[in-house]
Amino acid sequence: MKLIEALKIAQHPVDDATMCLRVFLACGFTPLHLQSFLTAHLRVRRRDIRPDIQTGLFGDLVGNIERLDSSRIDVLAVTLEWPDLDPRLGVRSLGGWRPTDLVDIMESVEVAATRLQHALEVTCREVPVVACMPTLPLPPAFITRPLQMGSQEAQLRRVVASLVESLSHLPLIRIVNEQELALASAPVDRYNVKADLQTGFPYSLAHASKLGEILAGLIEDRPPMKGLITDLDDTLWSGIVGDDGVDRISWNLDGHSQMHGIYQQFLSSLAAAGVLIGIASKNDEETVAHAFQRSDLLLSQDDIFPLEVHWSRKSESVRRILTTWNIGADAVVFVDDNPAEIAEVQAAFPELLCRQFPKDDPRGIWMLLKELRDLFGKSTVSKEDILRTRSIRNAGVWRNQDSARETSSDDFLQLVDASLVFDYGRATEDTRALELVNKTNQFNLNGKRYTESQWRQFLADPTAFVLTAGYEDKFGALGKIAVLLGTAHSNGIHLYTWVMSCRAFSRRIEHQCLRYFFEERGADQITFEFMATPRNGPIREFLTGLVDSPLPSPLSLTKESFSAKVPPLFHRVEVSSHV
C-alpha cells in the first residue's frame, strides 16, 4: 500500500455509529506514517470499525506503556526497536561504542527488557497486546565484522528471544512472527537512516506499510476456521487406491510422494488442535477402509469424522459432513486435487473455501499448508478443542435418538448419566467463554460479539456475571459448552448474551441453565436481550416454546412460567460460585 492510498483510506469519513477501536500505538520513535498505515490496514480488514490510534511520547516506549490507562483503550500495539532498549543502539544518540560502552549497553538492555516485560505483563491482564520485536538492523557498534556474529550481538538477540519466549505464554499477547515479517518486508529494505535522523521516523515507507499490515492482522484476531474436508486419491496419498491397490499408494520419499505424508502430518496436527477433519472421496468404501488399516498412515482414523466414501457427487458428501458437524460452510475448507470436483462443490456451496491440492508441485503444497495454517491457526489449544471430534462422533447417538422419537425421550436422557458443572463468577481469564460467544451462531441470544476489552469492561460492573456450563455423559465429555453473560439484580437476572455449542443440543442443558438462576440464584424473573438473527433459529424455537407467543425484545420469563413448561431434567449438577 502506498502512503497516498493509506492516507485516503485512513481519512475516509465513517459513520459516527461505527464501532470505535481504540488502539494505543506504543513506540519510541515518531509514529508518523506507521500510524497512517496501521489505521488504513485496520480499515481495510474491518469495515465495521473506526480505528482511533493514540500515541505516546517520543523516546519513551516503556514509559508510554507504564502510564497507559487500559480502560481507555481496546488494544495495545507495541513496536520495539533496539534504541528503546538502549538509545546507544540507534543513530540519534552519541553515547559511545567503545568496548567499555558495549558492556554498559548490555547491562542496560537487560534492565530495559525486564522493565518492558513487566509493563506488558501488567497491561495484558487488562487489554490484548500485539507486539513486534526489533525489525531494524543493529548498528555497526561491535568489533566483529558484520559477517560474523559476535558474542555481544548474540547476547542482545538472546535478551530479545528470552523476552519473546516469556511473553508468548501469556494469553492476551500476540507477537509478530519475524519469519513472516521477513518474507513480507526484506530486512535490507527496512531502515531509512536519513528519515531517522531528519524526522525520527526510521522506517522505509514499504516497511511501515508491511508492518502496519501485519499488526492489523494480529489486532483483528479473526476466529479460526473449524473444519477441513479432504479428498483421498492424489491428495491424502499419492495414487488411486482403487486402481493401484492399497499397497501401492504412497506418501514417502521412496515413492516420490513425501509431500502427501507432510499433508497427512499437517492434518493430524490440525486434528489434535480441535479442527474437524472429514473425508469426501469417490471410492469403494471397503477399499478405503482397508487403506486406513495401513500402520504407516500419519493421520489416525480417530482424527477423522465422518468419512463419506461412495460414488455420489462430492457436493452431496460435503452436505452430509456439514450436517454431521452442524457448522456453516463458511467455517470449512474443502481440499481436492480435481478442479472439476472443486467446481461442482463450489457451485453447491459458494461460501465454502475450496482449494486445489497441487499434487505434483511441492512448493505449491508448501504454500497451501501455510495458507491452511493461517486459516486454522490459534494461540492455544483448549480442553474443548481436544474433545471436539470425539464428541461429534458421539453426537450420532443423540441424532439417532432424535430422529427415532423426534425429541430425546426421558428414558434415554436418564440413561446417559449426564452431569453439568456450572461456574458462576466474574473471571475474565477464561478465554474459552469469550471464544464460544464469538463463534456460536445457532443457539445465540442475539448474535452480539465482544472484543476482549469489551468483555472485561462488562465484567468490571459489580452486578455483572458470567455463567459457564460444562457437560459430560457416558459417551464422553463435551467440555465447556454454554456461556451466559448478564447482570444480577434484586428482582432477577438480566441476560445480555447466551450461547450454547451446537454439539450440546437435545440434552435439555438450556433448561438446566435457566433452572440454575431460579433455583440457585433465587431469581424470580429472567429478562433476555433477545434479537432474531438469520442463524439463531434454535434459541428462538426454544424461547418460543417457553412463552408460547411471538418473542418481544427484551423478553421476560417468570419462575412460575418456567416451572410450568420445564420438562424433567436428569443431570447431576455441580455448582461453583466465585462472587
Partner: protein, 81 residues
C-alpha cells in the same frame, strides 16, 4: 492542467482532505490552518513516493505552498514539465 499538477493535487488531497481542487492549487501554509511541520513531512513523503524522488530536507522549509512544490518538481523533474 499538466499531468504533474494532477498528481501533485492528488498528493495534497490525501494530506489535506476536504479541500476543493481550487483551494489546493492556492494552498499555502498561511491559507491552510492545519498545515504544520508534521503535514509538511507527510506531504513530502507522499510526493517523494509518488514522483520517486528524494526531497532534500534543507529545502523543505521553502516548500510552503502548492506552487512552491510545483516549481520544485518542475526543476527536479524537467521531463514531466
Amino acid at each position: 492542467m499538466s499531468n504533474l499538477e494532477d498528481r501533485l493535487t492528488c498528493c495534497f488531497a490525501s494530506v489535506f482532505q476536504g479541500l476543493t481542487e481550487a483551494e489546493i492549487r492556492n494552498a499555502s501554509t498561511e491559507s491552510i490552518g492545519i498545515w504544520d511541520s508534521l503535514s509538511t513531512v507527510t506531504l513530502a513523503a507522499v510526493i517523494q513516493e509518488e514522483f520517486n524522488l528524494e526531497i532534500d530536507v534543507e529545502i523543505l522549509p521553502k516548500l510552503d505552498s502548492f506552487q512552491a512544490f510545483r516549481d520544485y518538481l518542475h526543476s527536479a523533474l524537467p521531463a514531466l514539465r
